[in-house]
């Protein structure tokens, strides 16, 4: 099956469900690796820098947001790594997935921002449309 799986995580319940599905797929093959991508919105940087003592503290805070996903991955025994991207969530996931030539993108159907989904079309939709590899949207 897929060797390099990109899991888009944003700290929502849906991301945790997506993680479970990604684990199922990754478990099919011994050398599969899940890369958890968390996108830090550009507008978040100023607030995070102002409210944290150091870049290490910022990283720790961000790591906390995906703790649920990380716990699931740890428990499953699948090999994984966490990557922080910076920019607009949908766009960065697409760019990164295409750049790194990942084989599968797994993403929750809706994230934290419910309103934006209604108005502008969701991150997952954008990813589905523009990513070069297969994408799995988890309900």
């Amino acid at each position: 099956m897929y060797k390099h799986i990109l899991l888009a995580a944003d700290g929502s319940e849906n991301a945790a469900r997506a993680a479970k599905e990604a684990i199922k797929i990754a478990s099919c093959r011994k050398d599969s690796m899940i890369e958890v991508a968390y996108v830090v919105d550009f507008d978040q940087s100023k607030t995070d820098v102002l409210h944290s003592g150091s870049s290490e503290a910022i990283n720790l805070e961000r790591r906390k947001k995906i703790v649920k996903v990380e716990q699931l991955l740890k428990d499953s025994g699948v090999s994984y790594k966490v990557t922080f991207l910076h920019g607009t969530p949908g766009l960065e996931i697409v760019n990164y997935a295409n750049e790194q030539q990942v084989e599968l993108v797994v993403i929750g159907s809706r994230g934290l921002n419910g309103l934006q989904e209604m108005v502008l079309g969701s991150v997952s939709h954008k990813v589905m449309k523009r990513v070069n590899c297969p994408a799995l949207i988890v309900k």
Binding site: F42, S45, K46, D48, V49, L50, H51, S55, H86
Partner: protein, 477 residues
């Protein structure tokens, strides 16, 4: 750290485009900050040109935008009012010299000692002051003024949802200026507050007497400007570091700010520094390298040379609307949650910083007061030692040093101790100085009088060292 070639030419397309976007966004701000400072718009525009161009070469954070800023403009207001423009240029030069000194002395490290609470207070008071500076330009002038401010705000907040390539403030300026000109409504324009000269800045030496008298006048301002400039620049560089996931050279940035200010002073500009808002715009628009900063400066100057005649026609209410947007963007809206959730002392430091800045109109005073206050809170916090005991074992909790010895001694003075022999356990403590050792000796004597034998246990090695050193010193007398 990237190579110099990478810093310049690693992202040519993105840098050129974002530089153009930033130049367009810089013009209204440079003009507005000139008006705040009480000088001609050209002073801010020239400063933005020279700051950006020099920082592109001399700065330590590629992709960061420096120009004329509100924080600096606020500091220089009294200097300009009382002594005039030439003294501002002289003060700008001196600011640069001080900043270079700070850079050489590696002051960037000291930024670590500015607590978050003070930084949050800094941006909040900056936002409040820029807003306050706009008030005279739109309150109680005319109904049409309110309408134009309102429409500007509406445009700058709704347009980005539909048009992403062209900055919304630019669309607002162009469309509303056209509306104002053709409808013939009576609005004050930038031209009413100053003139735009369509020429490049020229080198000149500030026309002030080179005397101790002059130095006395400008030094306090230059010192404030140097501090404010470095605080905002280093904060901005942290934000750009985080946004781009890269590192920067903070000391080089401090030196670069100094060099840029010296050049700015010689070319008839006002002291400037890095700008949070513009740097965020630059990164968001795709700018990453030094080229973006250079293009921003060059394109800004080009626009003024070509379009200077039109810039003076921009109605003030439109500029005010854009500046209100800048305030809203500068303010840290997470502060309200912070006031509730952060430790009481941090919240007090933040509010104190804001109050002092708003009171004095000088951001450097707020920063200094905030740092001192939080240092005092810190000392108070760590200067209390508590002692708990199980049977005859007494645990010292906290640091034992000159400020905390009283609470340590008082415990043994006023508490009844029932056993004939006790252990004082230092596993949760440490002795820092002579006063700490003295306090321990005093407690020994106190208890000796009461015929209680004590034994000190679990001292860490550095505490042991300081005790043996000082005891050795006393016994040798």
């Amino acid at each position: 750290m990237q190579s110099l070639k990478q810093q310049w030419f690693g992202n040519i397309r993105g840098d050129i485009l974002s530089g153009i976007v930033v130049a367009l966004a810089l013009i209204p701000e440079a003009i507005a900050f000139s008006i705040i400072a009480g000088v001609d718009p050209m002073v801010g525009l020239y400063a933005s040109f020279t700051m950006a161009v020099i920082i592109a070469f001399a700065g330590g954070r590629p992709g960061m935008i420096s120009a004329a800023t509100g924080a600096m403009a606020l500091v220089m207001v009294p200097l300009i009012k009382d002594y005039g423009l030439e003294y501002l240029f002289a003060a700008t030069l001196l600011t640069g010299v001080i900043q270079i000194l700070f850079g050489v002395l590696k002051v960037a490290r000291l930024m670590k000692f500015i607590p978050n609470a003070v930084m949050i207070g800094f941006v909040n008071s900056l936002a409040i002051l820029i807003f306050m500076a706009q008030v005279p330009h739109f309150i109680g002038i005319s109904t049409m003024t309110y309408i134009f401010v309102g429409i500007t705000l509406l445009l700058v907040y709704t347009l980005p949802r539909f048009i992403k390539v062209i900055p919304a403030p630019l669309i607002a300026i162009i469309s509303l200026t056209i509306v104002a000109i053709f409808s013939g409504v009576n609005l004050r324009t930038i031209g009413d507050l100053g003139t735009i000269t369509q020429s490049l800045p020229t080198f000149m030496i500030p026309d002030v007497p080179f005397s101790l008298e002059t130095l006395k006048i400008i030094f306090p301002f230059s010192l404030s400007l140097a501090i404010v400039g470095l605080v905002e620049s280093l904060l901005t560089s942290q934000i750009v570091d985080d946004m781009t996931g890269t590192e920067s050279n903070k000391n080089q940035e401090a030196r670069g700010q100094g060099i840029a200010n010296i050049v700015t002073g010689f070319f008839g500009g006002m002291a400037g520094c890095a700008m949070i808002g513009q740097s965020v715009i630059n990164v968001k628009s795709g700018g990453r390298g030094r080229l973006s900063t250079l293009i921003a400066g060059l394109f800004l100057m080009f626009l003024i040379l070509v379009l200077g005649d039109l810039v003076v026609k921009i109605p003030m209410p439109v500029l005010v609307g854009i500046m209100i947007m800048v305030c809203i963007g500068t303010f840290d809206w997470a502060s309200f949650k912070y006031l509730v959730k952060a430790p009481r002392t941090d919240a007090i430091v933040m509010l104190t910083t804001v109050v002092i800045v708003v009171w004095t109109h000088d951001l450097s005073k707020g920063v200094i007061a905030g740092v001192i206050l939080s240092a005092v809170f810190f000392v108070v916090k760590i200067s209390s030692v508590s002692i708990t005991h199980e049977d005859n074992r007494y645990y010292v909790n906290g640091q034992l040093f000159f400020a905390s010895t009283d609470s340590f001694i008082d415990f043994f003075k006023y508490n009844e101790i029932n056993s004939k022999s006790i252990l004082i356990d230092f596993s949760n403590s440490r002795i820092w100085d002579e006063s700490g050792v003295g306090a321990l000796l005093k407690v020994k004597e106190l208890l000796k009088e009461k015929n209680i034998h004590i034994e000190v246990v679990e001292l860490d090695s550095s505490s042991k060292k300081i005790i043996s050193r000082l005891e050795g010193a006393t016994s040798s007398h």
